[in-house]
């Protein structure tokens, strides 16, 4: 765990040194905000204020959103062929609040959340998620309201939750995925099927879609692993990776 916390600290420092004006967080809702009543494949949070759910006793917070950036990105993505939904009141669950607690504990950065469905079919293929990232990058570059934008993708790696195998972690799968991701083997990543993800990484591995969005946005130039640990306390194969930006 010490290595994981140290990696969080390193990422936090790296983020601070980059001096972004806003932070886009790619994550997956866990039946907190979205349900079978409505579950868009991709959703961007457009509110000026973003409430967190505070589940698992984490406490509720009100984070700053950035409507002007969110609206610009939303419009550009739709015009680029991605039917992203927009939510004026998108509450954020632990997929967002946990990483943000480590990266921006003082809530110093306004946040634009982007949700990607990861375990309620039909699921977007990993290639589609990486393509979304590419379109997101272009959208960021085309808007002129916000200067520097950082992007964080959260989720995975292997974890089984809500099922009889809960608690299982698969380091072999995790390390294999990390190797592919670090060298940006997009062909291999794009071809990872849902069956493989679920069989080898658990239903939670579907969240790796967020990683593919970030990789696409960064230009698929590789990544540097800061830490990987199978963390039993979090029942998750946990890794922090910094992505090279083209």
């Amino acid at each position: 765990m010490d290595r994981v916390y140290a990696a969080w600290s390193e990422l936090r420092t790296s983020l601070q040194e980059a001096e972004p004006d806003a932070l886009i967080v790619i994550g997956t809702d866990h039946f907190q905000t979205f349900s079978y009543d409505l579950m868009p494949v991709f959703t961007i949070g457009r509110g000026a204020e973003l409430r967190t759910w505070g589940e698992f006793g984490s406490g509720t917070k009100r984070l700053r959103g950035m409507p002007e950036l969110a609206d610009a990105l939303h419009a550009d993505l739709v015009h680029s062929g991605f039917d992203v939904a927009g939510s004026a009141d998108m509450r954020l669950d632990h997929a967002y609040s946990c990483p943000l607690a480590f990266l921006t504990p003082d809530d110093s950065l306004p946040v634009v959340p982007l949700s990607v469905v990861a375990f309620v079919p039909p699921l977007p293929p990993l290639a589609r998620c990486r393509a979304l990232g590419i379109a997101l990058r272009r959208a960021i570059e085309r808007q002129d309201g916000v200067g520097r934008v950082a992007i964080v993708g959260t989720g995975g790696i292997s974890h089984w939750v809500g099922v009889p195998e809960t608690g299982r972690i698969n380091p072999e799968f995790d390390r294999h995925f990390l190797e592919l991701f670090e060298r940006s083997d997009v062909e291999a990543l794009d071809s990872l099927s849902d069956d493989t993800l679920v069989r080898d990484g658990g239903p939670g591995a579907g969240e790796l879609r967020s990683w593919l969005v970030v990789l696409g946005a960064a230009g698929s130039m590789g990544a540097r692993r800061l830490a990987y640990e199978p963390v039993d306390a979090w029942i998750t194969g946990t890794s922090l990776v910094e992505v090279a930006v083209a």
Partner: protein, 100 residues
């Protein structure tokens, strides 16, 4: 009377915030949710109308907090996890006990 309505009920029970927190048992929480869904007040607000139709078996799964039964019925595991978290149910222990 469907897996969908069961899952919708579980979702609302798990995310009702203060309402879920005040009700320490699933049966009371479900009773309140059903009452709310039939509220004449909500009938005036079509945008947030909640219509639930649960058969006796589905209602019983919730009232008894029968997470193993929910799993066998096909409820999404993440919904079960959330429900179990709100009502303090050790779903893994329940699964083991049920032979899952």
């Amino acid at each position: 009377m469907s897996l969908l309505d069961l899952q919708r009920a579980i979702y609302h029970l798990s995310t009702a915030g203060e309402q879920a927190g005040q009700a320490t048992d699933p049966a009371t929480a479900l009773s309140r949710l059903i009452e709310l869904s039939r509220s004449e007040v909500l009938a005036e607000l079509p945008a947030i109308q909640l219509q639930l139709e649960l058969d006796p078996h589905e209602s019983e799964l919730i009232e008894r907090g029968d997470v193993a039964g929910m799993y066998r019925y096909g409820v999404h595991p993440n919904l079960i996890r959330n429900f179990a978290g709100v009502f303090g149910i050790d779903y893994l222990a329940c699964y083991r006990e049920a032979g899952l």
